[in-house]
């Protein structure tokens, strides 16, 4: 448990010491890095450990984000009657509030934590469903199916309705047919826009909060307009807590007998199965665990200041971004994924004047790495493994031609 404690302290230091001293813009970058780390490391569990090539990771990110967003957006309204954050010092908060008046962890933070867990669980459930095809499909086919899954999520999100906004509405607007009871002026209601199928025109509909069934909110997450108005709880503290837990879980997994089982599937599925590894079960497990962490990261993403959660979050461009991190770092290397997540997040800053070259550079990096270092920069190894440095030294010493590694016959 020591590593987790270190993670906790690290996250607190990030929030309480680092953030106030680096300014808002760099702080946002550091926050993005933390989320990217969680995403890259979680994808490593599927693509790196079991060698199943998932290209729909952003689908889990989006689903987790939407699920968590529903919990805080509608939960807040039910509990506090508003959509403001109710967090403490360790969470994201409006600049206007004086930190001295805040507790360390606020009521809202507990709701937020619950939302993250819900986001993770919903994504994990979906991970189970997406993992099922992996039992029958390999390589490219699985890749294309997972990619298709991400696209389906994207389109499905677009089909949802506008978010429900709470307002006090005059009785007559909400219940035009009912006589107004004495003393009642307004009703706490949701207002939302619908397209009238007959006239094809938009109009606003009012519906009393008390008349709105709980499940109704599931279909009101903004559609193609995006899910706006989610309270912004995400802070460096929460981001690095999640990143620490993700990294911790990935390491514990990799170093356990289950991790070896995962890796054996990647190395040779037939042999793994013959040696008693229930490849079916572990492949699905890999998807479930990986999706869980991606879903939690999605929850963080959804609650980040300046982020508009939209259907595009689930699109393949986002998935490609995460894949690039995993491949650059080394398929199966956790530290590699972390390093690559940092690089891939920071690089756009370095290229701020020539943003159009960002993806060109990634693309070339992908191609060259596949030709010259087929297993990514670190392969399955971690940055501190002796094998990595031995190879670097050997390569640095002589024979640059050997760089082709396993790719040449």
């Amino acid at each position: 448990m020591l590593p987790l404690l270190i993670g906790l302290v690290f996250a607190a230091v990030m929030q309480l010491v680092v953030k106030p001293n680096i300014g808002d813009y760099p702080a946002k970058l550091v926050l993005d890095i933390g989320i990217a780390i969680s995403l890259a490391v979680s994808l490593t569990m599927v693509n790196g450990f079991t060698g199943q090539f998932s290209m729909g990771h952003a689908g889990f990110l989006a689903v987790g984000g939407y699920a968590a967003g529903i919990v805080t957006y509608y939960g807040s309204q039910r509990i506090w009657g508003d959509r403001a954050t109710h967090g403490g010092i360790l969470s994201g908060r409006p600049l206007a509030i004086d930190p001295a008046t805040l507790p360390l962890v606020g009521h809202g933070d507990w709701l937020f934590l619950a939302a993250l867990v819900v986001g993770g669980l919903v994504a994990a459930l979906l991970g189970f469903l997406v993992g099922l095809p992996s039992l029958r499909l390999k390589g490219d086919y699985l890749a294309i199916v997972t990619l298709g899954f991400g696209e389906i999520v994207r389109v499905m999100i677009q089909q949802t309705n506008a978010t429900l906004k709470p307002q006090d509405i005059a009785w007559e607007e909400v219940y035009p047919a009912l006589p107004r009871p004495a003393g009642v002026e307004a009703v706490a209601s949701y207002a939302f826009d619908v397209i009238d199928p007959a006239t094809k025109l938009g109009r606003t509909v009012y519906q009393a909060v008390s008349d709105t069934p709980a499940w109704d909110v599931l279909t009101h997450v903004g559609g193609s307009l995006g899910f706006t108005g989610i309270p912004k709880y995400t802070s460096l503290f929460w981001v690095y807590i999640v990143a620490s837990i993700t990294i911790f879980a990935a390491f514990r997994l990799k170093q356990s007998t289950f991790g070896r089982a995962f890796l054996s599937i990647r190395e040779d599925e037939v042999a793994a199965e013959a040696m008693g590894v229930n490849t079916t079960r572990y492949k699905v497990w890999a998807f479930v665990i990986s999706a869980f962490f991606a879903g939690v990261a999605g929850g963080l993403f959804a609650h980040t200041l300046g982020v508009g959660l939209s259907a595009e979050t689930a699109g393949f461009l986002k998935s490609f971004d995460i894949i690039i991190m995993v491949v650059l770092g080394g398929l199966g290397s956790i530290s590699g994924a972390v390093i690559a997540a940092v690089v891939v997040t920071v690089l756009p800053e370095a290229l701020r004047d020539i943003p159009q070259y960002r993806l060109i550079i990634y693309a070339l990096a992908l191609i060259l790495i596949m030709i010259f270092r087929p297993k990514g920069l670190l392969g399955t190894h971690e940055i501190w493994d002796r094998a990595v440095w031995k190879r670097v030294r050997r390569r640095g010493g002589s024979e640059p031609g050997k760089a082709k590694g396993g790719s040449s016959p």
Binding site: L253, T257, R260, L263, E267, A274, M275, N278, T279, T380
Partner: protein, 272 residues
Amino acid sequence: MTSSGRRSDVLRVQSISKSFGGLKAVQDFSLTLCEGDLKGLIGPNGAGKTTVFNLLTGVYKPDSGAISLSDAEVAGLRPNQICRQGMARTFQNIRLFGELPVLDNVRLGTHVRAHQTLLGAAMRSPFSVGEERAMTARARDLLAFFGLEGRAEEQARNLPYGDQRKLEIARALATSPKVLLLDEPAAGMNSGEKVALRDLIRRVQTTFGVTILLIEHDMGLVMDICQRITVIDYGVTIAEGPPEAIQNDPKVIEAYLGAPDEPSVEQGVARA
């Protein structure tokens, strides 16, 4: 052990068949292994030997027939279930986990006997730590048995060919099998290595008390260590019996002479 009066059958195979499209790769193959047997399975190239292994271990499902391992029916089970029931194999075209260290290849073999849970492993519960330690110790013992302890940390794909074949056997033994299927363990070895392998197989059998079914093209080796031999050709069993009988069986001689690029039984014996 081999001559004791009452020995139970560990593996009973009753007329299993398999065809691929129009090709009848294995037809009505039957075989019984008693505890402690070391039986040979030979036949010319493409005779269907590896297919028999694939059927036994569940890689392919037999079209018909029954396979019982320690009196439990295993035909139709998935390979991992059959392995759990106590049958392990090596592969003709080596299938190690190449990127993983040698030690992990063997430790993976012990996984099927592990009892820890995913959560326990993540939390490093005392039970899981203890079990992990035991698995590592067992893997190291196995590596020492095969003289590979010095290479435990190397990547499996970097081992010399002969060591890779030994590692395959070690990995299979790590699953604690009752029946061990060896698919051409001597392939690609020189004669010195083959002699060493012969002793090794014998030692494996006495040390681990496993029952062995051996596919091998080297007749010298097969005739030397197997008590009984089954010969198949074009998927059909053409002979079964002790080595001496097999060597003189006209059908066997014909099968091998019919495939001129194959060392004949006679030549094989002469070489040994």
